[in-house]
Symmetry: C2
Subunit: 138 residues, 2 copies
């Protein structure tokens, strides 16, 4: 499974009085295509929200549109990351924060499970060594 | 990837003054074998803690021994479930609670990612329909 960060080209439109630029709606079309791709091939993908001309109002609109799902993941590693399933299963809202709690980047990931949640073989092998040391000390 | 709930046979020993039965230590050996299996074949497995003669002190001992990892997952579905990575990557402590917050079952799962965290194709297909309705309404 490859994780591609999709480059999205949006117009740099000035926001209206509500702060909306109209740039959030096309992302729903893009997400629908990505979900179709996940279902067809299992290929995961991501949209880097920080790289797009989206206002805070656009991001709020998108978050409300996608809704809240049943699963929420917290990852503590030099700052907290949250990986929240949206009401559209397979679409995850990923927020990375620094140690001071400020948002450093935001992604929407389309995947069976976000890449960061999976244990990696090297880490599992290190964990096994820890466990074997623990057993040796019993 | 298959998820097997491993039957473990432990002696029904009465606890000592600290509440420990000595039944928790053999589980570490079992977990080490399961982690080796995960690394070798990718096969996930689980130990149903509720089905074993373990006291609350045994469970606490096991939890402390395995430590706390970087990832914690919360799942809200007729009661809250928590799926917490232990300090041994690939070993997850899974607790299911009912709507009143009482623990209904506990598992230790050995997997790249716990089964319940993964979006299932049927749910993703339903999510896609929701998304397409949303787009049609724009």
């Amino acid at each position: 499974m490859s994780l591609d960060v999709i480059p999205i080209h949006l117009v740099n439109t000035p926001p209206d009085k509500t702060g909306l630029t109209g740039n959030a709606q096309p992302l729903l079309h893009e997400l629908a295509e990505q979900v179709k791709c996940l279902l067809a091939s299992g290929d995961a993908s991501a949209i880097d929200l920080s790289a797009l001309p989206l206002t805070p109002a656009d991001l709020d609109w998108l978050k409300v549109a996608l809704g809240v799902g049943e699963i929420s993941v917290t990852l503590q590693a030099s700052g907290e990351s949250t990986l929240a399933e949206t009401a559209c299963s397979g679409i995850w809202w990923v927020t990375h924060r620094n140690e001071q709690g400020a948002v450093t980047s935001q992604f929407i990931e389309v995947a069976w499970v976000p890449e960061l949640v999976k244990a990696h073989p090297q880490d599992v092998a290190i964990g096994l060594e820890t466990l074997e040391l623990l057993i040796a000390d019993l």
